[in-house]
């Protein structure tokens, strides 16, 4: 009769332990930033792995999302004779929500899973242990540059996603559907606010970049060092990151656009 209660307690303790370990790891990573300033090369290599390699999927997805938004938006807006506001709709959706959120989901799938697998395999093949025995702190040397790279790349990827989405929306809306060129941009510029929309979108993507990279590194670092363990950790990275992004998006949206 007390078994479910005990299990609940056990799960609670485990969760707390995980959270504690996650924060300790984060602390270790952040303390590695000082070293990083002396070795920018480490960061550049990770910016390549995390940012450049995610660029293609983000760029293509952004363009298509913008095109689809434009197409769908046109059919609805034209029923009210408001197709002039197509630009606003496309840009607002992208800058406020879809840019940061979809880019973060793609980032979790593309870069996050790769980070987890890489770190997990390094642990499984004793490379992290080996570094430790060489008096090199793997959290500072291996995790910190990856974390910073994720944090820097995410807002840039989100901005590229949104920008290409707007361009894609422009080509469909103005090029294919015949919305007025000037109205598309002027309405957009009149309604989209640099502070309220663009800046908040960037803040969102910074938060998502932080959380996604953190989850990915945590899962990799604490993955059970076997083939199965690493594969499970990789799956967890994608699942946890996606849920975290969507949950945080709701909270951030409520905070930013709520009033």
């Amino acid at each position: 009769m007390l078994d479910p209660l005990a299990r609940l307690g056990r799960a609670g303790i485990d969760t707390l332990e995980q959270i504690g370990r996650g924060h300790l790891l984060l602390l270790g990573i952040l303390s590695g930033f000082a070293d990083l300033a002396r070795r920018p090369r480490l960061l550049i290599a990770q910016l390549y792995a995390v940012g450049v390699l995610s660029l293609l999927i983000v760029a293509v997805s952004g363009t298509f999302v913008g095109m689809v938004l434009s197409l769908q938006g046109y059919y609805i807006l034209s029923q009210f004779g408001a197709e002039q506001t197509l630009g606003v709709m496309v840009a607002a959706s992208l800058v406020r929500e879809l840019g940061p959120v979809v880019a973060a989901l793609l980032f979790a799938g593309r870069a996050g899973s790769a980070l987890t697998a890489e770190i997990g395999l390094m642990a499984a093949t004793e490379q992290l242990s080996g570094l430790e025995m060489m008096a090199v702190n793997p959290v500072k040397r291996i995790l910190a540059p990856r974390f910073l790279a994720g944090f820097i790349s995410m807002p840039l990827l989100a901005a590229i996603f949104s920008a290409l989405g707007v361009v894609g929306g422009y080509f469909v809306g103005v090029g294919l559907l015949g919305v007025d060129d000037g109205a598309f941009w002027s309405q957009m510029q009149a309604k989209i606010d640099l502070q309220g929309d663009v800046r908040n979108g960037v803040i969102k993507s910074l938060v998502f970049g932080f959380v996604c990279t953190w989850i990915a590194l945590f899962q990799g670092y604490y993955a059970v060092p076997t083939a199965e363990g690493v594969s499970r950790a990789t799956t967890r990275t994608v699942v946890h990151s996606s849920l975290a992004v969507l949950g945080l998006d709701f909270i951030l949206t409520a905070l930013m656009f709520g009033d």
């Binding site: 550049i44 390549y48 450049v52 004779g81 640099l194």
Partner: protein, 158 residues
């Protein structure tokens, strides 16, 4: 590290692309870039009420967009709104006595300025003013007037 130069270049390109995208969002998508004008000339028009006219709203003639609203000010002595219009350079033959009206696109759409050409031989130039204007139709006012006149009728009928 092999190809480290190659990687550096790609990372540089990525960072540049990201910054360009951010710049694009700030300047082209949001309202920060509204100061960019290009060639053309500026005229002003005074209205009693501009409704929900905004900076960057279109200015049209015969339905064709010829410019944009570039600034909206308030003249505190005459209690009028002073609207600056930026007209594109190629539309340089707009009669001085043209009539500026504020219209609404569709029932709920955005408001814009429509110019009806006058008969004058001289054309608008930089710094000119459109003297003839018609204010925006404010829906609440029209409804209010309608209800008021109905009420008046009711009083008369008694």
């Amino acid at each position: 590290m092999r190809n480290s130069r190659h990687i550096e270049i790609l990372v540089g390109a990525f960072m540049a692309a990201g910054l360009v995208a951010l710049f694009f969002l700030a300047m082209q998508v949001s309202n920060l870039g509204s100061t960019s004008t290009g060639d053309g000339y500026r005229v002003t028009a005074r209205f009693d009420n501009i409704g929900s006219l905004k900076v960057r709203s279109p200015v049209t003639m015969a339905g064709v967009r010829v410019g944009r609203v570039s600034a909206i000010d308030y003249d505190s002595t005459t209690y009028e709104a002073v609207v600056s219009l930026h007209i594109e350079g190629r539309f340089d033959q707009i009669p001085e006595d043209s009539f500026a009206k504020i219209f609404t696109a569709g029932l709920l759409g955005e408001q814009y300025i429509g110019l009806d050409p006058g008969g004058s031989e001289s054309y608008l130039t930089e710094g000119g003013e459109l003297a003839l204007t018609q204010s925006a139709l404010v829906l609440e006012e029209i409804i209010g007037q309608f209800l008021f006149s109905k009420a008046q009728e009711g009083v008369k009928d008694e």
